[in-house]
Symmetry: C2
Subunit: 250 residues, 2 copies
DNA sequence: TGCGCCCAATATGTATGCACTTTATCGGGC
DNA sequence: GCCCGATAAAGTGCATACATATTGGGCGCA
């Protein structure tokens, strides 16, 4: 809302790379693109009406965010987070979001609080819709919080790690096990409004811990992954040698 | 073109983009490139013997890491962190590194401990050398720790935020005020070896807090920046006047 | 003298072409 | 029938070319 007010005759900044990135990000977190899905530069370029150059830049950016994997001379694919990485990813996210609410506690004005509540209402409305939408909205709630800190780097890190958690959810969690608790979101808003710093930090901690636990209770859904992914955790045991897991000829 | 025999030579993968990134990163954290320094694609390409395409990709990656600023249709420049961003950057770093040592406490083998000690010895040897080298080595110590967690994302985030802290140091700290305490590094290694998790987390916290405090005691050195940088915070109010909550500039 | 406009030099934004690598297809030997 | 090597197709790696935007300087006019 506030961001469109300062626009004058600002042309469509022509940010083609950003457009493609946003589209792909959304497709990925809504699970339209599952982990491992191929992303050929040609196809992307054709779909978005740009050349491979632009598609390639977009893929590069998403790779920097950890959402896609870029292998030399190979088709880029949607990243496939490993199970043990999932744990630490959620840990990182917990700490970052604790920082966010620490910054925000007691600092939000009425407009911001209203925006947050409106967003949770949207989550509520989408509760019975497809899982993917719920997950996206829940993630966007956390990103919205981060943006309100007015700190670019905190926003960037929280966004990235949240998207990555989304990806993890889409890789490991069973249907309906991954929804962010809407009630907890409301409680966090309330605690933020009242400026109870320690309390809201603790709430955020437990909230994300609950999400992680619900999602990672068991390494389910592994069946759909490639064989090498299933074997990855076992291969790690013997990682003392710098040997790289090579995919056996199928 | 059949490989006549079973000879499979692994080429050095020719990672040109990565090479340029590493070179620029190092130049930036050693303050050979100060914040605000221009980075024209042509010049980079010529210097590294590649085309603009590659130089551009490298700049894109560094921009994703927050080390360079990319403005549309304008020459890329080394990022100029703002003073209030510096505070939150160090906060993020503190939390991330607490996670690192939490993972590592009591888990390191002798070879790893020896590697850490050897690195601190290098820091010690460089103590009387140029500041830039000391800062780089101190930063690399923290990155080395992160790498030992064997977690790519933790490594990536710690690296990025550490580099960014370096950049902040180079922008704000006065000579000799920024050196990481070597004694504290040794103490951290010792506590890690003894597996005292809570203690080492606390030590890391205070260690980084001390670095931040030494570095950010006062917004000095602003004078050396370009005028536009000094005026940036004030310009922000002009262009986004409407409803944006204003942060008080020190 | 000083202000403002126009134009060339410079630099970025993007598409396209070519070389090389990987992958898929197909035919022959065991 | 199955495995293996050759060959074609597909895709990426990279450089170059051209279009467009910004910057700096010179010239004219008040």
């Amino acid at each position: 809302m506030a961001k469109s007010s300062a626009k004058k005759k600002r042309e469509p900044a022509e940010d083609k790379v950003g457009t493609i990135c946003r589209a792909l990000r959304r497709a990925i977190i809504e699970q339209a693109l599952e982990p491992g899905a191929k992303l050929p530069e040609d196809a992307l370029g054709e779909r978005f009406g740009v050349s491979r150059t632009i598609a390639r830049q977009a893929l590069g950016q998403l790779a920097a965010e950890g959402l896609v994997e870029l292998r030399r001379n190979r088709i880029a694919v949607v990243a496939t987070p490993s199970w043990q990485e999932a744990r630490i990813t959620f840990d990182v996210r917990m700490e970052l979001e604790r920082l966010v609410v620490r910054q925000l506690a007691g600092q939000l004005n009425k407009a911001q609080l209203a925006e947050l509540k409106a967003h949770v209402d949207k989550e509520d409305a989408a509760r019975n819709g497809p899982d993917a939408i719920s997950i996206r909205l829940a993630t966007e709630f956390h990103i919205l919080l981060a943006q309100m800190t007015n700190s670019p780097i905190l926003t960037r890190y929280v966004s990235e790690v949240s998207y990555r958690c989304c990806l993890t959810l889409s890789a490991f969690s069973r249907p309906h096990s991954a929804d962010c608790g809407i009630t907890e979101h409301r409680a966090i808003i309330d605690a933020l409004a009242k400026g109870r710093t320690d309390e809201v930090m603790s709430m955020m901690h437990h909230h994300l811990d609950a999400v992680a636990t619900r999602a990672l209770v068991a390494p389910a859904k592994q069946r759909s992954q490639d064989l090498v992914d299933i074997l990855a955790p076992y291969a790690d045991e013997a990682e003392a040698a710098p040997v790289k897991p090579r995919r056996s000829a199928a």
